[in-house]
Symmetry: D2
């Protein structure tokens, strides 16, 4: 019986600022990528998400980004690859400690925003992230955009890569995510998103904006948490995958 | 043959800002308390200190403080005890990961500035810090001001407390550090500091501003790094202890 | 024909984080207190609110707070009174420049959160704020909690004080706002809030939680923008005042 | 009798962090470019420099940069030109208010670090800065790198541009500053720097690394404050210009 993981970026609030409905999403997804305080997230929100995730059997990953709260980690800040290693290591460690504090355990890392976009397309950045993850804890996995340089980097370094697709993002002819703001970048209709995810999972392939299929392993589906239709989309994606006979389980089992 | 540890707060720069001479101090002390990015320190400086400390056989501890770079962690910010647990856990984890990245290992925690002053005198704050340390890694030690509430809290929680005295600070009649800015708070003469430390270590007691002795175990001596005379004072303290027959070794051996 | 001003704290988002519906509130209130980037607000949000306020004839004030984005300016950070002068001056200037950039003009200052609470009850803090305002621009007014030390400080310094009441906050027997979290602190029902405001404006007095009246001039009514019922409450307050024959106009006319 | 202005970037510390010797430099230069809290500087340091500058007849300018304390404003952060307008306006206003608070008055603006480098070479960025300055206060001048796009932008917009040369930086064949880290970028010998400045001022031209002369008006000479030899270099530059018969006066007289 085939299985699939459902992941979402959570703990993206900061202090009094809310961002998405973490508790609602934790009732739907099986893996939570937790912001680590650089582009979003604070120790209070992180600890809350770790505790709730543990109670619900949701796996947790560290979700490091650039130190840019104002830009929500979406600005490409010119850090050197060495600096990227250190900011990733720092954030992974902070997340590990707060997970332990909350009775949970980080099992993987996923890069956020501009850092993720850079690691998707630039092997040197991808390698920097992989070096940081291995140095901190070589047992950690790395969630990677399907077909990305980061997926190749994880494989080359012999750390477990988890290829993921996005429920709400379009892909160009090369299988790269269409940048935000360009036509076809965002899929906002929950039903369209759910149907599209199912088609990709069943095909074992990315389906591009133009309709072409690019073969790739798919182990997880990312549903975003910060749009108005986020919870609705996540529910539809989950329901549609379950209806098609897939079991929704975390890649990394929660003990 | 009696031994004593010599510790110092290091990695207190930030980006382009320098604070003290970390490399010079790492040639003198046996334990380095490393700032974790909230009141001082950044991932670059932290990684550099961890790497240098490892090369020199200097033990390293996490040195968490309040998130207050502007105030250098010296303002008493009204965090709840629960929030204190989470900011301590976060910073300890960040330090652990960067230490691992640099090939070293955190062996203890020491609180900084206002957080340290609060934990010195307020048992509830001390207990919050201890809970955070135990939750993150119960094998970690806690460096504590001699005779403080934090020393009692560590003992009650069965984590290893390392009682320390300050080379450059005066003590009041109760054995509390005299607050900065008050008469007798700072000892700036390197020779006076060295003589005073030796007297306390040999007496196994704090010596107050008024000259009284208060018995206490003393396992480490803190020499500050951020004054103009810091390196000179540290050298004198070390030389004076060695001349008196003490061996200067880290409390936590570096493998 | 009697007039009253309606004010609200706006521009309280930060980057991707939204806080309240600034545009909806700017269609209801006559004065907007604009966050200045220390506890909330960023240059983008500030410029947007100034521009929209100008287009709608809404007066604008600077709304400085403690530099504490994580705590939303609600933590009492132990700044000296001198430091308070400088952080207030800095923020007022930033707001003045962005208002000019957007074609508008700051006409008053109102302190936010913990800084406002301290200036309400502590004359020395109130005087520090007043000194900063006078030094930057003596033509600026100061919006003050009715009956507060800040109201007295403004009067003594001969700057224009605008006494305000809160639509959604209860008052204790001394006329001080009941602290958040205590019984009677918050009035969440829009109709109750509107009725209460009208009663106070018509009586020319604060009405305490216990029902007593304390005479005070009332020149403005503050409606908060960051609760789920904020827009609804503001509409009810405005409608109820208008129905009773009051004209809703800014204290400082917009040219 | 010919005159020349001597300017320096001051107030570049932050909280407990020192950067250069502001007081020593204020005894040598005639114009102080004051950091505004985004890449360096805080309200305390800014107010101190404004007060001291006023007492010594030193003109003051706002010195805005990117919001990047960790990177000291030297990272090229991808802000849009619109965002650059708003961050410049914000910082200029903050500096104006603190100058007023300290009894002084901002007379010009000079961009810092990466923002300055971008405005040197990119006309669209230069125009964004000029729009911000004009919107906040059209009477303000703009200190600009000689021969830069920013110099042209100021001229086109009819605001007063003050072309400056750098005492400690080399120029390439096009008259652009050689980037830090490349050969010839920095002139560290105080006597060489002084001789070079005098040669350029007397020639009315930049002198490139290769020895070519490029004609340009020169109204100010920038001496940096943050290197170990900064004060020495500034003294030599001043003495050498005075010996050659130039009067050192601020471009904008201090009343």
């Amino acid at each position: 019986m085939p299985t699939i993981d459902l992941n979402s970026d959570l703990a993206e609030g900061f202090g009094a600022y809310k961002c998405g409905d973490d508790d609602a999403m934790l009732a739907i997804v099986t893996s939570a990528n937790v912001a680590c305080g650089f582009h979003a997230g604070d120790p209070e929100i992180m600890a809350h998400v770790f505790k709730t995730a543990k109670a619900r059997g949701v796996a947790v990953g560290a979700h490091p980004g650039f130190p840019d709260l104002w830009g929500f980690g979406r600005r490409r800040i010119p850090f050197t690859n060495g600096e990227i290693e250190r900011i990733v290591a720092y954030q992974v460690g902070a997340a590990q400690a707060l997970a332990a504090y909350a009775g949970h355990r980080i099992s993987y890392v996923k890069t956020h925003g501009a850092l993720g976009n850079m690691a998707e397309a630039d092997r040197a950045v991808a390698d920097a992230v992989v070096r940081a993850v291995k140095a901190v804890d070589p047992s950690l996995g790395l969630m990677t955009i399907a077909l990305s340089e980061q997926a190749k980097s994880a494989e080359a370094a012999n750390i477990e890569g988890i290829a993921e697709i996005y429920a709400d993002r379009g892909y160009d002819d090369q299988g790269r995510m269409i940048p935000r703001g360009k036509p076809g970048a965002m899929i906002t209709d929950p039903h369209a998103a759910a149907a599209r995810v199912l088609a990709m999972v069943e095909a074992g392939a990315l389906i591009t904006h133009a309709g072409a299929k690019i073969k790739t392993p798919i182990r997880s589906v990312c549903v975003h948490s910060d749009s108005p239709e986020a919870v609705e989309t996540a529910k539809h994606v989950r329901a549609s995958l379950e209806k098609a006979g897939l079991t929704i389980v975390p890649v990394f089992p929660v003990q």
